[in-house]
């Protein structure tokens, strides 16, 4: 099986889907001539030309809205936000238009758009550039929210997202762009709305996503040395939530820790915690625990920022807390 970086996997997904369907085009800041701020779109301008790979001026609400209008008309836009932090400028267009035009029109229009871009903290880029806003979008009815943690999922889910006839928020992780792992050859599609067990275990279930899945996996290695067996579920899709996979695990381990980079209040993990205690109450041997970022804006200083994130040390401590 070939090994690709997360960004190469995304690049392949874009290239394959653009080749497959002429209505698919990519639009965003620096996606064309610069080959992408994070090089996700490297080589695409050369391959597909300026009609399909389009550099936009810095005007998120303008070009996000333009993408939504184009989708209403029958095209299949992929709109890149250089980082999801910048999507806030377009929040009205995404929430009020992309997510709602179908409903408000009584089902007459669909919006087959993918909003994608990098997200996540840990790079010392400060509070306005470090958001993990998957929960702000997951709260909106009709939006699909995807946060892949591995290259194979990044490729398979981006392909599925582009083929979806509904609006998708596809949040990549900035720190993972260089992460290398195996990606199946050939046509590789991953089903939206299905989580994946990335590590099997018996003592406790961790539900996580994106960068936090890797933090959890690293923590699990250390915990294994101490005789603690942790099962780790990578959600991959935040919404629609794959509760069945979570339930199968929690009924086995009887303990749940959610690890999320979201800020705590109304982060996606709060929704998971609610559903688990509601439907699996009798299966729990301990209250559901959540480990999130600290409830503060993201600081620039490196040590401070690491302390804000749900880092491995905090994951280990949280696991032990649940087990005692």
């Amino acid at each position: 099986m070939p090994t690709l970086t997360y960004r190469e996997a995304l690049n392949q997904a874009l290239s394959e889907e653009m080749e497959r369907d002429e209505r698919v085009f990519l639009m965003g800041e620096e996606v064309a001539e610069y080959d992408g701020a994070y090089k996700v779109s490297q080589g695409l301008l050369k391959k597909f030309g300026p009609k399909r790979v389009i550099d936009t001026p810095i005007s998120e609400t303008g070009f996000a809205g333009l993408g939504i209008g184009a989708a209403m008309y029958g095209l299949r836009p992929v709109v890149e936000f250089m980082t999801w932090s910048f999507s806030l400028v377009a929040y009205d267009q995404i929430v009020n238009n992309a997510a709602q035009v179908r409903y408000m029109s009584g089902g007459q229009f669909s919006v087959p758009i993918v909003f994608r871009g990098s997200s996540g903290g840990g790079l010392q880029v400060g509070a306005t550039h470090s958001h993990t806003p998957e929960n702000w979008y997951a709260n909106v009815p009709a939006l699909t929210v995807i946060t892949p943690a591995f290259p194979d999922d990044a490729k398979g889910l981006l392909k599925s997202a582009i083929r979806s006839n509904n609006p998708v928020c596809f949040l990549e992780n900035e720190k993972l762009y260089g992460y290398k792992d195996e990606v199946p050859e050939g046509e590789h599609l991953v089903e939206i709305g299905k989580a994946r067990v990335r590590r099997e275990g018996n003592d406790l279930t961790i539900v996580s996503n994106s960068g936090s899945t890797h933090r959890a996996l690293n923590a699990a290695k250390q915990l294994e040395a101490e005789g603690i067996s942790v099962e780790i579920i990578d959600l991959r899709t935040i919404k629609p939530l794959d509760f069945a996979t979570i339930a199968a695990s929690v009924t086995k381990t009887n303990r749940l820790l959610i690890v999320e980079e979201n800020k705590p209040f109304a982060g996606w993990g709060a929704q998971v915690a609610y559903q688990v205690q509601r439907e699996l109450f009798d299966d729990l041997d301990a209250p559901v625990h959540r480990l999130t970022s600290l409830d503060v804006p993201q600081p620039y200083n490196g040590r401070l920022e690491q302390a804000v994130l749900p880092n491995e040390e905090r994951v280990i401590a949280a696991v032990k807390e649940v087990l005692t």
Binding site: F63, G65, G67, A70, R102, G106, Q108, R163, N165
Partner: protein, 352 residues
């Protein structure tokens, strides 16, 4: 009312370089369309006062020549998008008045299945892309429609309307920049009725006239007198031709006036009765009536007959809406997700 008004349809042109003269039938048809809108809006006002229409209801009385005139130089398959004062735009696109009134009443027979209401009329078959509530939010959407028209090589154009209150929204400036930069076949139309709710242009907008903003983007700009349907037609035709033949955008400012408040919730205390009465003397329907008399194309009797006809249509739409059923509660879960014909396994369920 027929689905598309045949008398008006034949005046549309896609390749002609000058606006063709209207036949007598077409002129009468324009008058009829304006009067239909007037009577429909009056009926809506009545229904709202009776409590049959809820929420917001923004009436178009006084502005009829803008919707009718601009639409009359379009082809049927061109695209139209507007803000929330949208009843007239839906009607000129050919949306059934019954479906419009039923939507106002929230019935399942409404053009948006009762899901949209007054601010969100839509009709995909009539190339009417709504009906939008966030001021200026429709302008990037309209720009996207034009982008797609160009991308697909359709030869069609988009008309995107806004009020004078929208011109200061960032979204509008961003969209205009994109349209000028990428040479999109769009006409932006400011329906300037001089008031954004209770705020006059003088209190809201720096830079006069509003068309000056087009200059920032090297975009063409045209002003028109919105009380004179012939001026609206002539000026819109210029802009539409530029879009269709050279794929260049235009910013139009059409000066008009609304007789009622911003919405049914607005008593309009910021305007004097005298001002409104004075402006009514330039009523677009009355002005066109005089023109039809001058050209000997109509008489009081013939126009009264039209009034009876369109008033009956308005009343019939009210009756239709009254008698139509409410949506079943189950429909609250419908119309959220498009079928996933490309991904067989994935069928999201809004019930969770």
């Amino acid at each position: 009312m027929p689905a598309a008004d045949p008398a008006v349809k034949s005046s549309k042109t896609s390749t002609s370089s000058r606006l063709p003269d209207l036949t007598p039938q077409q002129k009468i048809a324009l008058y009829r369309q304006m009067l239909l809108i007037r009577r429909f809006e009056e009926k809506s006002k009545q229904a709202f006062t009776q409590g049959k229409i809820k929420g917001f209801c923004h009436l178009y009385n006084g502005q009829e020549a803008v919707a009718v005139g601009t639409n009359s130089v379009l082809n049927e398959d061109d695209a139209m998008i507007t803000a929330y004062r949208d009843h007239a735009h839906a009607l000129v696109r050919g949306v059934d008045p019954n479906a419009c009134m039923a939507e106002l009443f929230g019935k399942i027979t409404g053009c948006s299945r009762g899901k949209g209401g007054s601010m969100h009329f839509f009709d995909v078959k009539k190339h009417f892309y709504g009906g939008h509530g966030i001021v200026g939010g429709q302008i990037p959407l309209g720009t996207g429609l034009a982008f797609a028209q160009k991308y697909l090589g359709t030869g069609r154009v988009t008309l995107a309307y806004m009020g004078d209150g929208a011109i200061n929204q960032g979204a509008v400036h961003e969209a205009m920049n994109l349209a000028a930069l990428w040479k999109l076949p769009i006409v932006y139309i400011i329906e300037n009725n001089e008031y954004s709710m209770g705020t006059t242009i003088a209190r809201s907008s720096a830079g006069d006239p509003l068309t000056k903003r087009a200059g920032a983007f090297d975009m063409a700009a045209i002003q028109a007198n919105g009380m004179d349907i012939d001026d609206v037609r002539a000026k819109t035709f210029e802009a539409v031709s530029l879009a269709r033949t050279e794929s260049l955008p235009t910013l139009m400012e059409i000066r008009t006036y609304r007789y009622f408040g911003h919405s049914m919730s607005d008593p309009g205390n910021y305007r004097s009765k005298e001002e409104i009465e004075a402006r009514r003397r330039s009523d677009p329907i009355e002005l066109y009536k005089v023109r039809l008399f001058e050209q000997k194309l109509a008489t009081e009797e013939s126009l009264n007959a039209i009034d009876e006809e369109v008033s009956a249509i308005a009343q019939a739409s009210y009756d239709f809406a009254e008698q139509s059923p409410e949506p079943e509660l189950e429909t609250v879960f419908e119309d959220i997700f498009a079928p996933e014909d490309q991904i067989a396994e994935f069928r999201p369920d809004p019930r969770g």
